[in-house]
Symmetry: C2
Subunit: 305 residues, 2 copies
């Protein structure tokens, strides 16, 4: 039985009769091939990547497992449609907190169409991509059984300033409610999620070391998903913090050059997360997002299974 994913924070959604990804109970994620050349490019990437013996295992684990392609009934009821069959990277998590971070100050590349370049460049300038080297594309932060998830709407997320991003990365690892505008994010879970030898920072640093060296692929408009289980921490278990790279419709060949665009953005994200770990009590900008929230209500009561 295929169903609509509960924890998809960005991209097209298979809701209201639209075409979008589906999941099953065995931990697989079925992503409809994007109609234009993006679909075939993403298949080409997964095919090439999964058979490339030069990808070390400790890096491969950051990518969804690829199970090929399959014709499936599309979620929009239009009949059989080709889908990528991938590992459902959130299937091992219960009520996960998730941030989708699109890496790179530039989401376009020389081989793209001029129309795509101009649209991407505009979006890079309007979001934090240009200033920070990355932008948040979507997120969900689990609040409580009563209130479910904080899922700011897409338009709001794409309007995040650099300071908003700093605050969200702190809220992501805080015990107080993400919608509480009267208290500072306490960053109680920073060390459990970002820190430690297996935490998110350690994983990002492993990825960074690979990007300093690999010249096989350039990953444009690709995201890093960061996720963990808040309730597991409450129960004294591991946070399950992990990162996964997703969205490979704009991967091009590296041609012997490192992916300096991805690497630069990754280093910027690493620096920002390091600062939360070293100064969890210092909020460089305490008012902007809080003020915004006094005037807006975001909380969409998410499905809590």
């Amino acid at each position: 039985m295929l169903k609509v994913p509960d924890h998809q924070v960005a991209g097209h959604h298979a809701r209201d009769g639209k075409l979008g990804p589906l999941i099953d109970d065995s931990g697989r994620f079925y992503k409809p091939l994007q109609g234009d050349e993006r679909g075939s490019k993403e298949v080409a990437f997964y095919t090439s990547f999964s058979s490339n013996a030069r990808i070390p295992d400790h890096i491969r684990r950051f990518f969804p497992i690829f199970y090929g392609t399959q014709l499936l009934e599309a979620s929009d009821g239009s009949g059989l449609y080709p889908h990528l069959v991938l590992q459902d990277v959130v299937s091992g998590h219960h009520n996960p907190c998730i941030i989708d971070v699109k890496i790179g100050s530039r989401t376009w590349y020389l081989q793209a169409s001029e129309d795509y370049i101009q649209r991407s460049l505009k979006k890079d300038r309007e979001t934090t991509s240009l200033s920070l080297g990355f932008r948040i594309s979507g997120l969900q932060i689990y609040d409580s059984e009563e209130s479910g998830f904080w899922r700011p709407e897409k338009k709001r997320v794409l309007g995040f300033t650099a300071d908003d991003v700093r605050v969200v990365l702190r809220k992501f690892v805080s015990s107080n409610s993400p919608t509480d505008s009267d208290s500072e994010p306490d960053c109680s879970f920073a060390s459990a999620v970002y820190g430690g030898s297996t935490g998110i920072l350690a994983q990002l640093l492993e990825l960074k070391a690979w990007f300093e060296d690999q010249t096989i692929f350039h990953f444009f408009s690709c995201s890093i998903l960061m996720m963990y289980d808040k309730e597991a921490i409450f129960k004294g278990m591991s946070s399950g913090a992990e990162i996964k790279l997703i969205d490979f419709a704009h991967v091009v060949e590296g041609e012997g050059v490192i992916d300096h665009n991805f690497l630069g953005g990754l280093c910027s994200l690493i620096k920002m997360i390091s600062e939360i770990l070293t100064s969890p009590d210092e909020n460089p900008n305490k008012t902007c997002l809080q003020d915004y929230e006094k005037n807006h209500s975001y909380l969409e009561n998410g499905t809590t299974e």
Copy 2:
């Protein structure tokens, strides 16, 4: 007595009655302030940088010493004109080999005028800035007492492909003549210049570590000069290999974010130089520049003092 510098490989030249930088015998470099806001921005950068106590000494040595500004007779004969007074970074070198590498895949920034952004973006796309994360802006390679320097003309340098850049970085540390199109660059001096605990790679890595952390300045359209003395190596002396950062008319405040654009390009340069050190005999592209040279003559007999 002020005179025109012998070893300026990029930028405006004080020749033929034009406005350009001058040097004196005491090791100072007099750079006319650029007429528009670039001049005042460069003064502001040097003033801020030279008084900033957070710049560690091992990083400060990569920047020219700043001695203030001074009104001087301009090289174009137009009368008194304000000049930056800087350390002449090549004054300690004799017949130096020099490459000027403009770092960053993006030489523009949000605060610039739309006209500047569009012109810079076009140049970034047309050169290797976008693909490599840096471009060569100028160079001189000392050949011999008879033939002087190889100084490819500006138009040719800006037309370098990624493969041309790889070949030039090899020619830079080779004992065979840079204009010899029949033999491969032998990279004889790679370990003396790029390698070792005080070589260019070690210096670039020190700079990289600083850029992973510093959020004070963002350096757009700034260059790293790499230089050394070939004859010193012949005499069994140190190569004098060193790097210096120059050109700060487009430095903006970091606002708490790392300079991911500079860092990405720097990492790409580091990777390319590392490859020359690990595989000095492998020329990934043996024909492109060589073929070009069979049909063109570059050698401009440089001043050899």
